[in-house]
């Protein structure tokens, strides 16, 4: 009998038993999925974004369906980092899966403080910093939309934690590579991308924006071609380990992200469509590798063939 394909992946200082991670904001604090998912099988779990104080989030409506996607403006509702460390993290620890705390703040100091408190959590595998958050000190400009904001947040967090540091990039920029480079220079061990694309939905009969917040973030299959493009670009330009995401619904999608260079992937919106998506994709990955006769999932990472017709990235 053939041995099962090896799934372990190493992302800088972070080792995962397999490349399947559930994405922040789409998997609650993990335990919501106990009826559907054997949490111990996952490569990692990114919890809902954590802030210094608990946040109620935006008024409803907060979500709406769009063509092959959805738009959300949850408003980063969460229990706060202290409550996470006290009650949510211990509930996840027994499953032996890498728990990743997704953190954000409205000022550089807040980022650092949330990161510091999260890092005190026993058994936390890594921090993921969500830099798609508006800087309240600078007129609401999103930190991750400019190199300076990115540098300041990442350096500040780097100083307060020795955990593996994942920086999660926003796709809403002209040149994601320049932001990625700054993040790495400022101390990121790993990059994850993409966060949601900005979008709105309009209700014609009421003549209003659908979401109470007006603007929201688009996720799901609709964004996959764009997300794949950005992941491919970052992987081509930088040596840093990358976690890819954006519209991954099945094992083929997951392999697409790995072929362009992602060492691990995150499953987001798919968790809403079928709560067992993460483990189904894991099962699918095992089958696919087995079928292809591939013994180690790392053989797929960046294995895109680039000979043949030109693959010009300028147009």
């Amino acid at each position: 009998m053939k041995a099962a394909p090896r799934l372990e992946v190493q992302l800088g200082p972070l080792k995962l038993k397999n490349p399947i991670i559930t994405a922040s904001g789409t998997f609650g604090y993990g335990t919501e999925f106990l009826p559907f998912v054997d949490l111990s099988r996952l490569g990692g779990i990114c919890v809902k974004g954590l802030s210094l104080s608990p946040r109620k989030g935006n008024a409803p409506p907060r979500t709406f369906e769009t063509p092959a996607g959805m738009i959300n403006a949850i408003g980063l509702a969460n229990v706060g980092v202290e409550e996470f460390v006290r009650s949510k993290l211990p509930a996840l620890r027994p499953y032996g899966t890498a728990i990743i705390a997704n953190v954000f703040g409205e000022t550089v100091e807040e980022y650092a403080e949330v990161a510091r408190i999260a890092s005190t959590g026993e058994g936390l595998a890594a921090l993921e910093i969500n830099i798609s958050c508006p800087n309240t000190e600078r007129g609401g400009m999103v930190f991750g939309c400019d190199p300076d904001g990115t540098r300041r947040v990442v350096s500040a967090v780097r100083k307060v934690t020795s955990l593996p540091l994942i920086v999660k990039l926003t796709p809403n920029v002209t040149d994601i590579v320049s932001i990625a480079r700054v993040a790495v220079d400022a101390g990121a061990d790993i990059l994850s991308l993409v966060n949601t694309f900005l979008g709105i939905a309009v209700d014609v009969s009421r003549r209003r924006l659908v979401l109470a917040n007006g603007v929201g973030g688009v996720s799901g299959p609709a964004i996959k071609p764009q997300a794949l493009y950005l992941v491919h670009r970052v992987c081509r330009e930088l040596q840093v380990p990358v976690i890819g995401m954006g519209g991954i619904m099945n094992v083929s999608d997951a392999l697409e992200f790995m072929l362009v260079g992602a060492r691990a992937i995150q499953i987001g919106t798919a968790n809403f469509i079928d709560p067992a998506s993460s483990v189904k994709i894991l099962d699918g990955l095992l089958q696919a590798l087995d079928h292809l006769g591939i013994e180690d999932v790392n053989e797929m990472v960046g294995a895109l063939k680039t000979d043949g017709p030109s693959q010009d990235f300028s147009t």
Binding site: G25, T26, G28, K56, G57, G69, I74, A77, P221, D274
Partner: protein, 300 residues
């Protein structure tokens, strides 16, 4: 806040409980949730774009309680992407040819419900459920007291499953049913056959009182016999009006709320409603903390 002390919540095995003769209705551990590919047994066109869908989804049906819902989806489709929440309208007892069946009563309003309406016997649909907090039934109740079910339009879907529970608890169920016109008073006769007193109102006056269901409610609250509890399901504007009337009247009431839903299982935080909490407010998830809420909790 409403006192919950005199409400017994059937959190487990409501279907089985219904089959029992005794009054052994005690709370227990939360029911398990199932995700399964259900076979369509029947999809009956009730007119006025309403359909009664009967599914073979035994584990979901067997675990369901009145007031709960299921997420329905077409496996493998990327558009429409999200599953659709639908009340568990009823569960049908097993007979010789079928195990327990699940019924969904729905109205075509958009692409998801269009797809549901097009389902033919033998086809399959993915069903995740049962989900959410069921209705609770007061116990004990004064002999002869009434339970009002206030339905606005397709909101009636949630009530068939509740009827036998109310009857077993010794309550007399009365359906106050408002709709745009006579044709939309779907399943009215079914309720009558179950011994439910049905009072109707239509906006165009084509049947029953002309106007809104709130008029019927006002009348019912004003007259004897005693109303022990009110359940309501319908459009948000109606629920708001009903809720205010009931808070004013002091009668305990449970509203079943709706919202766009992402996941249905508490993970996306998309489906919230503002509720009273301590001195301030909180956003409660309709899919987990609801869809049924005490009227007094909801802050519109």
């Amino acid at each position: 806040m409403l006192a919950h002390a005199n409400l017994v919540i059937f959190q487990a095995l409501c279907y089985d409980a219904r089959a029992l003769s005794g009054e052994t209705m005690s709370p227990s551990s939360p029911p398990s949730i199932h995700d399964l590919s259900a076979r369509v047994i029947e999809n009956r066109d009730l007119g006025a774009s309403h359909f009664l869908l009967t599914l073979q989804a035994e584990p979901v049906a067997a675990a369901a309680c009145p007031g709960q819902f299921a997420m329905l989806r077409f496996a493998g489709r990327m558009d429409p992407l999200l599953p659709r929440p639908m009340s568990i309208s009823d569960v049908l007892p097993a007979d010789g040819s079928h195990p327990v069946l699940l019924q969904i009563l729905h109205k075509v309003v958009g692409r998801g419900t269009q797809l549901l309406a097009a389902l033919k016997p033998g086809e399959r649909l993915q069903v995740l459920g049962p989900l959410g907090k069921p209705f609770s039934v007061p116990s004990p109740v004064a002999p002869g007291s009434q339970a009002l079910m206030v339905a606005g339009g397709i909101g009636v879907a949630i009530f068939p499953f509740l009827v036998p529970m109310l009857q077993r608890a010794g309550l007399k169920p009365v359906l106050l049913f408002g709709a745009r016109s006579s044709r939309e008073l779907v399943r009215k006769d079914w309720f009558a056959r179950q011994g439910v007193e049905v009072r109707t109102a239509t906006e165009d006056g084509s049947e029953g009182a002309k106007g809104f269901v709130t008029t019927l409610l006002q009348e019912a609250l004003g007259s004897s016999p005693e109303v022990a509890i009110v359940y309501a399901c319908g459009p948000q504007a109606m629920l708001k009006a009903v809720g205010e009337m009931l808070i004013a009247s002091g009668v305990s009431a449970q509203l079943s709320l709706e919202s766009y839903m992402g996941c249905g299982i508490g993970a996306c935080l998309g489906c919230v409603v503002k509720v009273r909490r301590d001195s301030g407010f909180a956003y409660a998830r309709i899919c987990v903390e609801g869809p049924t809420f005490p009227a007094s909790e909801v802050l519109w």
